[in-house]
Amino acid sequence: MRELKIQTIKNGSVIDHITAGNAVKVLHILGIPKTSSSTISVAMNVKSKFGKKDIVKVENRELDPQEVDKIALIAPKATINIIRDFEVAEKHKVKLPKEIIGIVRCSNPTCVSNFNEPVESRFIVIREDPPRIKCYFCEREPEDIAERII
């Protein structure tokens, strides 16, 4: 088992290989720390053999891989490591779900999803890596997904 480059935790989750600079956005997408009272550590611009990366460590909480999949939008190469008693018990590579709901704002200012309607933003995933998504309502493809995170 490969040693993680940040301080080990006893139990919890480590999100590794996040595109450098995107760790805070990843936390935002996951709703952390709002949804969690766990201790959270963030390491940014960590050197690795593939260049720089960010790492997020959430103690005493096992993140549901499917819940974390949506971070593939901005960190398509990220992995989720579930840590139990200092060991990597499970490892999962993020995979974009077919639809992204309520996370990205449509880049089209005249899209109906940007008006006062009782709907969440909704995108269909066209390609996973690099991610390409299309608005379910107006079919516009945002080019700068990271900038459109709600």
């Binding site: 005249t110 109906v112 008006f115 309607e117 309502f137 516009r140 493809e141």
Partner: protein, 309 residues
């Protein structure tokens, strides 16, 4: 092929086989659309016609289509007389129309509005144009016009001219014509070029559109010239509009460079882009094209309502 209960939101929701089927049904509707034959297949059915934006042809042809099928129409053509004025959401307006009718036709200035309407309605929703987005029934009537005049859609040389950036009809049409493998040429002012997304869609379907600003050369061997209006209402500022309006004008002088069997189409309304002198030439197909809206919309209304001739 079963269309009962289906929404008509985007031409991309339909396969080529399904489009062919709709066009076949449209052909059967022509004598009924002309009033030469009569039918009551949608007797006692009610259509909600919700036009949040101005329209002449789309609204009247939908209403004519429903009446020709024996159905009835309720609705509005000016939202200022509705609760939208009081701040009601589109979703709530759609819920009401859903309760009062069997099919909903909606035109709205916001892109994606028809898709949203379909989310809140149990009855079928037909998109009659959503902002600069989609206009699938216009696309189908354009295909129907090309098919009836040229006897085929595939391999025609088709020039799309004018506002290719904001024009919703040309986006749907470029995609649909690519499904059939038509040869496409896009002619527009530099600031109103066809969006990359649309060009990429054509390429994904195996068509390599040519983009040019030379109209005379583009029409020299074309089968179809599809002209669009420079849409003032879609421009963010008047200065940009004034720079491009009137750049291209179709008149008999220009058409001397075209083949005799070139057909000139236009979704209408036109302003100055086609000189009225063209109306009297065999090239002018735009009024017949506008009529074709009735049989095509009759076919769609009957198919999604489960009515059969």
């Amino acid at each position: 092929m079963n269309f009962k209960g289906r929404d008509i939101i985007s031409i991309k929701d339909f396969s080529k086989a399904e489009i062919n089927y709709i066009l076949e049904c449209s052909k059967k509707m022509v004598p009924y659309a002309k009033g030469e034959k009569y039918t009551n297949i949608l007797k006692d059915r009610v259509l909600s016609s919700l036009f949040f934006e101005p329209s002449t042809r789309t609204r009247l042809s939908f209403e004519s289509a429903m009446n020709r099928l024996g159905g009835r129409v309720i609705g509005f053509s000016d939202p200022s007389g509705t609760s939208q004025k009081k701040g009601e959401s589109l979703a709530d307006t759609i819920r009401m129309a859903d309760a009062y009718s069997d099919v909903i036709v909606v035109r709205h200035p916001q892109e994606g509005a028809a898709r949203l309407a379909a989310e809140f309605a149990d009855v079928p929703v037909l998109n009659a144009g959503d902002g600069a987005g989609r206009h699938p029934t216009q696309c189908l009537l354009d295909l129907f016009t090309i098919l009836t005049e040229k006897k085929k859609i595939e391999k025609n040389k088709i020039v799309l001219l004018g506002d290719l950036k904001y024009g919703r009809t040309v986006h749907s049409l470029a995609y649909a014509l690519s499904l059939y493998g038509a040869e496409l040429t896009f002619v527009s002012p530099g600031s109103l070029k066809m969006p990359k997304e649309v060009i990429n869609e054509c390429k994904e379907l195996g068509v390599e559109p040519i983009s040019t600003s030379n109209l005379e050369k583009a029409i020299s061997d074309a089968d179809v010239l599809y002209v669009t209006r420079i849409q003032k209402e879609r421009f963010p500022d008047a200065e940009e509009y004034n720079r491009v309006v009137g750049i291209y004008k179709i008149d008999n002088g220009l058409l001397k460079h075209a083949r005799k069997d070139l057909i000139v189409m236009h979704p209408l309304p036109r302003v100055t882009e086609i000189d009225p002198e063209v109306d009297k030439t065999p090239h002018a197909l735009y009024f017949k094209q506008a009529f074709n809206g009735v049989p095509v919309r009759m076919a769609l209304l009957s198919l999604i309502s489960g009515g059969r001739l």
